[in-house]
């Protein structure tokens, strides 16, 4: 009797086994169906209608797929970067190692982090760089300039800190979506280009009623996505134009596509998102842009809340962090130790940095080293000290004269604008 029951159950499972084989066949067919759809789309004969209907997005052309792995484990569009200096969160989020920042005042291009909201434009999409166009609106005489014309209009070089709004997100303890940056979504860069003020003067000056400078990229265009959702258009207070520039060089070379080439807005002292890449338009406006990247994204809101009523990621706060020694630089030998780091004042000049080797119980003033490249660049600092064997928590605390780093992070929903010194400290073991 028992044998008969088992045989019955066995037959039932054999039946289900057949169903499984059928399901696998169905999966293969689904995948084949997608590939057929893509081929049809590429040849211009069909679109993924259900896709567009449900998510209001359109499949992109396969020729844009320039983000496959390069030979060094980096996406091909940045396979010229130094893989050893970088932490790859994804092919769109790549961070500089803490120890790969502080050995030079300027961050070499090969070490600079990557954070792109849209796919980097390719050479073929950009075409002749000198023919790249940017329109200037909200001025007395609106004009469109080519890059070649801008180069004749004016010329300047400025060092600024480029920092992602979410740099330090990896220290937040609540679940925060997005790349888990620690310290490496930041760089100090020389930009060369034309001051916005010069361009504005060439257009007869700004409209009297303007309140904001609104910059728009065109990197969403090849994707075919809805501009309201995909266009990176950012408004900042009008006053920013006085120090802003349209940059075509980065650290002495033509602005790489991966960093927004051939032309990028540079808004000194403001978070990276406002330094719009692949710049196509600058407008002086009475209202903030209404696109998603301005209206709802990049808002510093309490955990569990969101909305355009909360502050946008604009001015960077005062901040510093240790770059050497760290657990990345290996074991620290007892004796004389150079504690090195970088410090920034945000929109003001950084005035002082203090260093603690005991987790913030006591502080010693560090010495600024290297040239002062202006208030928008960071300063390197060093504290020479003697450490005996043991465990140390090393922290740095910067001040710009009116503000200093807080001990703790400002808790917020998306993990923006973290400048608390405690989380940025490093634990080292001296032997």
């Amino acid at each position: 009797m028992i044998e008969k029951i088992f045989i019955f159950i066995f037959l039932i499972f054999v039946f289900f086994g057949i169903v499984i084989i059928d399901l696998e066949d169905h999966m293969k067919k689904t995948k084949q169906k997608l590939n057929l759809n893509r081929r049809n789309f590429l040849s211009g004969t069909a679109t993924l209608a259900s896709l567009a209907a449900t998510a209001s997005i359109v499949p992109i052309n396969i020729s844009n797929a320039n983000h496959k792995d390069g030979s060094k484990g980096l996406p091909s569009f940045i396979n010229w970067k130094d893989r050893n200096a970088l932490i790859v969160h994804s092919d769109k989020g790549i961070e500089t190692h803490r120890s790969a920042i502080g050995e030079s005042l300027i961050t070499p291009n090969r070490n600079v982090y990557i954070r792109n909201n849209m796919p980097t434009m390719t050479d073929s999409q950009i075409g002749n760089r000198n023919n790249w166009k940017v329109s200037i609106e909200g001025v007395k005489n609106p004009k469109t300039f080519t890059l070649a014309q801008l180069k004749k209009l004016g010329h300047t070089t400025v060092a600024t800190i480029l920092q992602c709004s979410g740099n330090g997100r990896g220290f937040f303890e609540h679940k925060v979506r997005g790349s888990q940056w620690k310290t490496g979504a930041a760089a100090c860069v020389f930009w060369t280009g034309v001051p916005v003020k010069v361009v504005v003067d060439a257009c007869g000056g700004i409209d009297r009623d303007a309140v904001f400078m609104t910059s728009a990229g065109i990197d969403h265009e090849p994707t075919g996505l809805d501009p309201k959702k995909a266009m990176v258009e950012r408004s900042v207070p009008k006053k920013v134009y006085q120090d802003a520039m349209l940059a075509w060089e980065m650290n002495g070379v033509p602005l790489p596509n991966a960093h927004g080439g051939p032309l990028r807005m540079v808004t000194p002292g403001y978070f990276g998102i406002n330094n719009v890449k692949h710049l196509g338009k600058v407008a002086f406006t009475t209202k903030e842009s209404s696109v998603k990247y301005m209206k709802s994204s990049y808002r510093i809101s309490p955990i569990g809340k969101k909305g355009s009523q909360y502050p946008s990621c604009w001015e960077m706060p005062v901040k510093s962090w240790i770059t050497r020694p760290t657990n990345e630089t290996g074991t620290v030998k007892s004796g004389k130790v150079q504690i090195v780091g970088v410090a920034m004042g945000g929109t003001k000049k950084v005035r002082s940095v203090k260093v603690s080797i005991d987790g913030g119980k006591s502080w010693k003033r560090a010495k600024f080293i290297g040239p002062d490249l202006g208030k928008y660049a960071w300063r390197q600092f060093v504290l020479e000290t003697t450490l005996s064997s043991g465990n140390y928590n090393i922290a740095s605390l910067a001040s710009n004269g009116s503000d200093k780093q807080p001990e703790l992070r400002m808790e917020n929903r998306r993990g923006y604008a973290h400048n608390g010194w405690k989380d940025h400290s490093v634990n080292i073991t001296v032997v």
């Binding site: 028992i2 066995f10 169903v19 399901l23 359109v58 396969i62 092919d91 769109k92 959702k229 994204s297």
Partner: protein
């Protein structure tokens, strides 16, 4: 007696098949949602799904937990729609596509 032991082994073996049946079913449905319902394929590279979108991260280069994917799909990020908050997908669809992505991304 020997037949009983043999059938007992077959019984537990087929129980495993039963489990893999439900997982295979979820994978199949997840693939369908990824490619044809939610449109994830339009924006992400994922070898397992044959997709080559280039707007969001290449999912072949990242390892993701199911909970993380659920969070991303529910609330969106940047240009990625909030599929849950905006009622583009049902909770069940989000669970299934998250299971699928977590089990194929970075593999």
């Amino acid at each position: 007696m020997k037949i009983s032991k043999f059938l007992l082994i077959i019984f537990f073996f087929t129980l495993n098949i039963q489990n893999s049946f439900s997982e295979d079913d979820k994978m199949s449905k997840g693939l369908e949602i990824f490619n044809e319902v939610a449109g994830c394929a339009g924006c992400h590279i994922l070898k397992a799904a044959g997709s080559e979108g280039n707007v969001g991260p290449n999912l072949d280069t990242v390892s993701l937990t199911e909970d993380y994917v659920k969070e991303m799909v529910t609330y969106g990020l940047g240009v990625m729609p909030a599929y849950g908050e905006e009622n583009i997908l049902t909770k069940e669809q989000i669970d299934i596509v998250s299971f699928y992505v977590a089990n194929t991304a970075g593999k």
